[in-house]
């Protein structure tokens, strides 16, 4: 199918916008705090709930802490958690998915039974349960969200392995005399990469959203550390006095998610030209 001009420009826009936002997020996370040079935890009580000023470019929160500095450090928190979580879910999920798809038989059945039980917990519930057990902390979120998203990775990887291993080029490799291991490493896994990459990009957005939701519920990054979700949560009582405390962190989350989602669409279009 030949893409029309409108579709092509949309795809190009997706890619450009997605890459720009994601790069900005990473740049902010890495060098932002150093650029702002203001301690996100420093209290400035006279400036409580103040609007933008020369001292606090984006105003100050209910304890007089600098909003800009907290937003920038929040970006670092979000990006770090998202990367660590996606990496954790991908590594564990791919290992289990490959094991299930490769060994099949009872290993597969038992793994999938447990996996399906994990998948039977909707949305954030599993992460909430795990947070209830281990208590709120930054590493706790990575573990909780990582475990909550891992079963999806297992499913996708296993499905990819099972479908690819039936392809004729994989059979040709067996007929050639290649061992199962070589066949797997040389012909099956490389061809499973596309769905894994697409999933990883999509998951990056899910994790940022989930982390901010957990933090908003007070079960995420513990105060006083800055995080976009917990900034929304603590600012909630002051919504009428200082709406900018609510508007700014939300805008940060939304724009980041928009960028990541568009990047995900672009990656999907690029790797899977079918849709």
């Amino acid at each position: 199918m030949i893409a029309t001009a409108l579709e092509q420009s949309r795809l190009k826009f997706n890619a450009v916008f997605g890459i720009t936002v994601t790069t900005l997020l990473i740049a902010t996370a890495v060098i932002g705090p150093w650029l702002v040079g203001y301690d996100p935890l420093k209290l400035d009580l006279p400036a409580r709930l103040a609007g933008p000023s020369a001292r606090h470019l984006l105003g100050a929160d209910e304890f007089g802490r600098d909003i800009l500095s907290r937003l920038v450090n929040g970006a670092r928190t979000s990006a770090w958690i998202a990367f660590a979580t996606v990496l954790f879910a991908l590594i564990t999920g791919t290992a289990l998915g490959v094991a299930a798809g490769f060994l099949r038989g009872w290993t597969d059945r038992i793994l999938m039974m447990i996996n399906d039980a994990f998948l039977a917990f909707p949305g954030l519930l599993l992460a909430l349960g795990i947070m209830a057990v281990i208590g709120a902390s930054r590493d706790g979120i990575v573990l909780a969200l990582g475990l909550a998203y891992m079963p999806i990775v297992v499913r996708v990887v296993r499905a990819a392995v099972l479908s690819i291993r039936e392809r004729e080029y994989v059979e040709a490799s067996r007929v050639m005399g290649n061992s199962e291991f070589i066949t797997m490493a040389r012909h099956v896994l490389p061809n499973c990469l596309a769905p894994i990459i697409v999933l990883a990009t999509t998951m990056f957005g899910w994790v940022i959203l989930s982390e901010s939701a957990l933090s908003f519920l007070g079960l995420g990054v513990p105060p006083p550390a800055p995080s976009w979700g917990s900034m929304l949560s603590t600012a909630r009582p002051y919504i009428s006095q200082a709406p900018h405390l609510i508007v700014l962190p939300g805008l940060c989350i939304s724009i980041t998610l928009l960028g990541v989602n568009m990047l995900g669409d672009a990656v999907r279009d690029w790797l899977d030209p079918k849709l």
Binding site: L6, R10, D116, A117, P122, L125, G129, A132, L217, I239
Partner: protein, 313 residues
């Protein structure tokens, strides 16, 4: 067909058993002695021992699990540590709040998003299609809790049209109840319409390129007739699955939206119980929510053969 229904129902049972083991096991990982937690810091050692026996903690783990499951099956979810109330009525009350908002919200979202997605797909790459994609991607990217806060800020505080927080059950009159759920439902509609529209669009595009659509055109059918009679059923099937997932996971407590609008729903119940370390409530709510999710998805699976008769074959 009967065989298909029985198989699907039977396959949900092991899932439910594993879910109950997971919920039970999860709470066993909590550091510290549940009996001591239950009694608080001031308990004497003797009391703790007595509590352990009363709670059955002296028995082997498997026996403890079986006793717990047996109780749950008879409707006994235990009592809340904090208030001493029975857990099941707490859950059911909270569920009625979450369910009324979720059912209305998802229904309206589907009513808007499914036709929007399908029409967009039918006119693929037209300006209207691009519009639907843009709007749904933006909606997808706004966190529901922030969207709720913004609606609250604008319509509740600045314009003062609607009450800001609280909940009135429908049993106390339709209009007052309606006024209180307008904002939460709107939030839900806006945040769920995005993914549903995207799914409806993607699956319609997939169907629209199939040969039987061209065949229908070659018969002389009009475009609306082709869309309704030939594309809708086939394209709606995957969308229905997504709606099932959304419905199931939301029924399990739209914790963030309930927090924004301080609604006494299931999600809020769970989060408050986690704060308060009220483990019987945590355990009961998690099990209930997971079970609802499994049942809703089972229900969707059972509806599937009406859309695609091949599945039941």
């Amino acid at each position: 067909m009967t065989r298909f229904i029985l198989t699907r129902i039977a396959s949900a049972i092991p899932t439910l058993i594993l879910v109950s083991i997971a919920v039970f096991g999860l709470l066993r990982f909590i550091p510290g002695d549940p009996a001591a937690l239950m009694l608080g810091d001031l308990a004497k050692p003797g009391q703790v021992e007595a509590m352990r026996i009363q709670m059955g903690l002296d028995k082997p783990v498997v026996a403890q699990y079986l006793i717990w499951v047996g109780n749950v099956l008879t409707g006994d979810f235990g009592r809340s540590i904090g208030t001493g109330q029975e857990v099941l009525p707490l859950i059911l009350n909270a569920f009625s709040v979450s369910a009324s908002i979720v059912l209305v919200g998802v229904f309206i979202a589907a009513l808007i998003a499914v036709p929007a997605g399908m029409l967009a797909a039918w006119r693929q790459n037209s300006p209207g299609d691009v519009g639907v994609i843009m709007v749904s991607t933006i909606l997808l990217s706004i966190p529901s809790f922030w969207l709720g806060l913004m609606l609250l800020l604008v319509f509740g505080l600045n314009l003062g049209w609607l009450p800001v927080i609280g909940y009135v059950p429908f049993s106390q009159g339709f209009w007052p109840a309606l006024v209180y759920i307008i904002l939460p439902v709107t939030t839900l509609v806006l945040s769920e319409a995005g993914p549903i529209a995207r799914m409806a669009r993607a699956s319609t595009i997939e169907v629209a390129r199939l040969e039987y659509i061209t065949h229908a055109r070659a018969k002389g059918l009009s475009e609306p007739a082709i869309m309704w009679r030939h594309a809708f059923k086939n394209a709606f099937a995957p969308t229905l699955t997504l709606i099932g997932f959304v419905l199931g996971s939301l029924l399990g407590g739209i914790a963030v939206i309930e927090t924004v609008f301080t609604l006494p729903g299931l999600g809020r119940l769970l989060v408050d119980a986690i704060y308060a370390r009220d483990y019987p409530v945590v355990q009961g709510t998690m099990l209930f929510v997971a079970a609802i999710y499994v049942v809703v998805n089972l229900f969707v699976d059972l509806l599937y053969p009406f859309l695609d008769p091949r599945v039941a074959a």
